[in-house]
Structures are given as C-alpha cells and as structure tokens.
Symmetry: C3
Subunit: 109 residues, 3 copies
Amino acid sequence: MKLVIAVVQDQDAGRLIQVLMENSFSVTKLASTGGFLREGNTTLLMGVDEGRIDEVIEIVRKTCKTREQLITPILDISKSINTYVQHPIEVSVGGATIFVLNVERFDKV
Amino acid sequence: MKLVIAVVQDQDAGRLIQVLMENSFSVTKLASTGGFLREGNTTLLMGVDEGRIDEVIEIVRKTCKTREQLITPILDISKSINTYVQHPIEVSVGGATIFVLNVERFDKV
Amino acid sequence: MKLVIAVVQDQDAGRLIQVLMENSFSVTKLASTGGFLREGNTTLLMGVDEGRIDEVIEIVRKTCKTREQLITPILDISKSINTYVQHPIEVSVGGATIFVLNVERFDKV
Ligand SMILES: Nc1ncnc2c1ncn2[C@@H]1O[C@@H]2COP(=O)(O)O[C@H]3[C@@H](O)[C@H](n4cnc5c(N)ncnc54)O[C@@H]3COP(=O)(O)O[C@H]2[C@H]1O
Ligand SMILES: Nc1ncnc2c1ncn2[C@@H]1O[C@@H]2COP(=O)(O)O[C@H]3[C@@H](O)[C@H](n4cnc5c(N)ncnc54)O[C@@H]3COP(=O)(O)O[C@H]2[C@H]1O
Ligand SMILES: Nc1ncnc2c1ncn2[C@@H]1O[C@@H]2COP(=O)(O)O[C@H]3[C@@H](O)[C@H](n4cnc5c(N)ncnc54)O[C@@H]3COP(=O)(O)O[C@H]2[C@H]1O
C-alpha cells in the first residue's frame, strides 16, 4: 500500500474523483490553498495498492490540465518607486503535483 | 516517531479526539470529504511514538463505528433508459481507514 | 524529495508562507484544528529537495513563535463537586510541529 497525495486545481477535482471512483480507487478530498497564488486548490489522499500506482498517476495526468494565470504582482513600493505601471505576469499552473509515500501499515477498523 | 493518518466519520471524531487527549496523544484535525459518498468526514494527523502504535489503533477501533448508508445512485439516463425506478443501495462505511507512515525527522521548534 | 508537514499557529502562517515563497519553496496550505485547544491552526505541506531540509526548518524556526494560552479546563462536575472555582491554566503552544517524510516518487503532470 502506498499513499498518493495529489495537489490539483479545483476545476479538475470533480471530474478526477469521478474517474477514480469508476476505476475502483478510494479517495479522500481536502480543501487547500496554493502558497504562491493564494488561491483555493484541492489535495487528494489516496491509499493505492503498489501495483496500481502507474495507473492512478496516468488517470491524474489525463484528467488534469495545465492552465496559465495572469497575476499582477503585489507592488512593493520600497523597491520600485520609479515605476507605477505594474505589468501582469503569466504564471503557468500545472495539472497536478504528486507525492507517493510508503505506507508501513494499513488498517480498516 | 510515526505519522498515523486516520479517516473517520464526523459522528465519531469528537469522542475519538477526547479519548486520545485523555491518553496523552497529540492530534491535528482536518475537515475532509469522502470521494464516493461526497459527504464530509474527518482526517486526523497524529505523530505517535513507535511503541504506542498498537495502542492508538486500538483506541480508534473501539471508538469508531461502522454504519450503513442508503444512497440512491445518480441515474445515468444513457445506461438505464428502460427503468425509471432507482432502488436505493446500501453502502457500508467503516469505522476508520488508517495509514501509518514512517517519520524520518520530527522537530518541535 | 522529502515531504515536510508543519503544523503552525494561524498568526504565523501568512508571514511564514511569504518568506518561503521569497526563498523559492513551494507550499500547499490546509486549514486545521488542534486536538487539545480545539482552536484553528494551519498545516503546511512542502515538497522539498533533500539538500534544503535544514534550510526550510530554520525558516520555520525563525518565523514561528511560541505563545502562552490561558485556558479554563472544562469543568467535569462529577470529579470536582467541592470546588466551583476553576483556575485558568497556562498552556504553552509551540512555534511549529514538523514531520519530515520520505517521498518515493515525485511527479508534476
Ligand atoms: N516560490 C515560487 N516562486 C515563483 N513561482 C512559484 C512559486 N511557488 C509556486 N510558483 C508557481 O505558481 C504556481 C502556483 O503555485 P501555488 O503555490 O499557488 O499552488 C501550488 C501548490 O499548492 C502545489 N505545489 C506545487 N509544488 C509543490 C511542492 N513542492 N510542495 C507543496 N505543494 C506544491 O501545487 C500548486 C500548483 O503548483 P505548480 O508548480 O503547478 O504551479 C505553481 C508555480 O508555477
Ligand atoms: N484507500 C483509501 N484512500 C483514501 N481514502 C480512503 C481510502 N479508503 C477509504 N477512504 C476514506 O474513508 C471513507 C470511508 O471508507 P470505507 O471504505 O469505510 O467506506 C466506503 C466504501 O464502502 C464505499 N466506496 C468507496 N469508494 C468506492 C468505490 N470506488 N466504489 C464503490 N464503493 C466505494 O463507500 C464508502 C464511503 O466512501 P467515501 O469515499 O465516501 O469515504 C471514504 C474515504 O474518505
Ligand atoms: N504529535 C503531534 N501529532 C499531531 N499534531 C500535533 C502533534 N504535536 C502537536 N501537534 C499540533 O500542533 C499544535 C501545537 O502543539 P504544541 O505541542 O506546540 O502545544 C500543545 C501542547 O502544549 C498541549 N497539548 C496538546 N495535547 C495535549 C494533551 N493530550 N494533554 C495535555 N496537553 C496537550 O496543548 C498545546 C496545543 O495543542 P493542540 O492539540 O491544540 O494543537 C497542536 C496540534 O494541532
């Protein structure tokens, strides 16, 4: 048993959970926030049999999309007193960030 | 030190935390959602000394109850055009799903 | 790659995330609750390269403060029928509780 932790965009979470259910995976969903964009995203916890790790990562890869976000950096007056025009910058937010951890013991009680 | 992650039903979480506190365990609670029933549940994070793993799992086992839930499957028109009567099905939701992970380093700062 | 899980006080979380961003760390934030004080706190998930573990723990140590909390224990009538005066007790809440876990596989899709 491995614990797969996937951070995905909110827009993909519903569809991803549906596909995971149809493929007999079990999932627990946590509401989360990205540190950089400070926007809501979704963290999924999945206990997955060792032999199905590639399969679950492939489902995440196919279901989750990369998106571009335009952000206007918070103006730090002290550093840029000369320029008041803040150009928005484009940040690419990936489909998913996935961690696979080893589970020493798995119990259902 | 091990990290015990336990997904439990909301109805058992309050009582379980109380018993864990009385037994000098430390717990951090996260609100979560089940992937299948889409209902709220609770995910507990517990850093536990290796020698007390059996004890904490026993407390979870005794405090958390299995319950039956009746759900009416979402009607997928394309698959069941002939039958409009959706029979509710019974889903058994276990007391707790428990993952024990190894902690390489534990710090309190 | 290691997964660093840090439980910090809400008052320190905003500043901590800012410093982590400035030092090119990535962070996912989860709202959480302490089991003992039943108060809101913050759980951070950080995938960190093995060579930067000391650096991230040092940033957490410098940014998060220990605070004293006065709590009035919930009166358990059956145990203390003779004394109605409940003296508040002082509980020290640490800067941060940090778990470092090994990541077997890390993917960005
Ligand atoms: N310190 C920094 N400086 C400059 N740019 C930065 C940055 N931190 C993040 N970014 C950029 O901003 C995007 C959104 O990051 P955010 O932290 O809001 O939301 C993140 C975060 O919640 C999570 N995440 C990504 N890598 C992580 C890691 N190593 N540990 C924990 N969470 C991670 O996945 C979400 C999407 O990440 P993704 O890498 O696709 O996309 C990131 C990345 O392109
Ligand atoms: N391997 C795992 N990884 C991560 N989280 C896990 C997990 N196994 C269980 N959980 C968590 O524990 C809750 C209760 O699971 P349990 O297996 O007792 O009870 C489950 C199970 O009897 C059934 N079920 C779950 N997934 C299913 C699926 N793909 N197909 C059919 N039945 C499913 O529905 C009940 C409620 O599931 P729900 O998803 O709402 O809520 C789940 C989920 O949040
Ligand atoms: N091993 C572990 N596993 C998972 N999460 C952990 C943990 N150790 C600490 N935490 C998390 O960090 C918060 C602060 O813990 P700290 O030990 O600094 O400060 C603690 C500690 O001084 C005390 N405390 C905690 N549990 C206790 C217990 N069972 N009996 C007596 N005092 C307790 O109350 C303060 C606040 O605790 P609270 O539970 O509200 O909030 C805790 C909890 O959310």
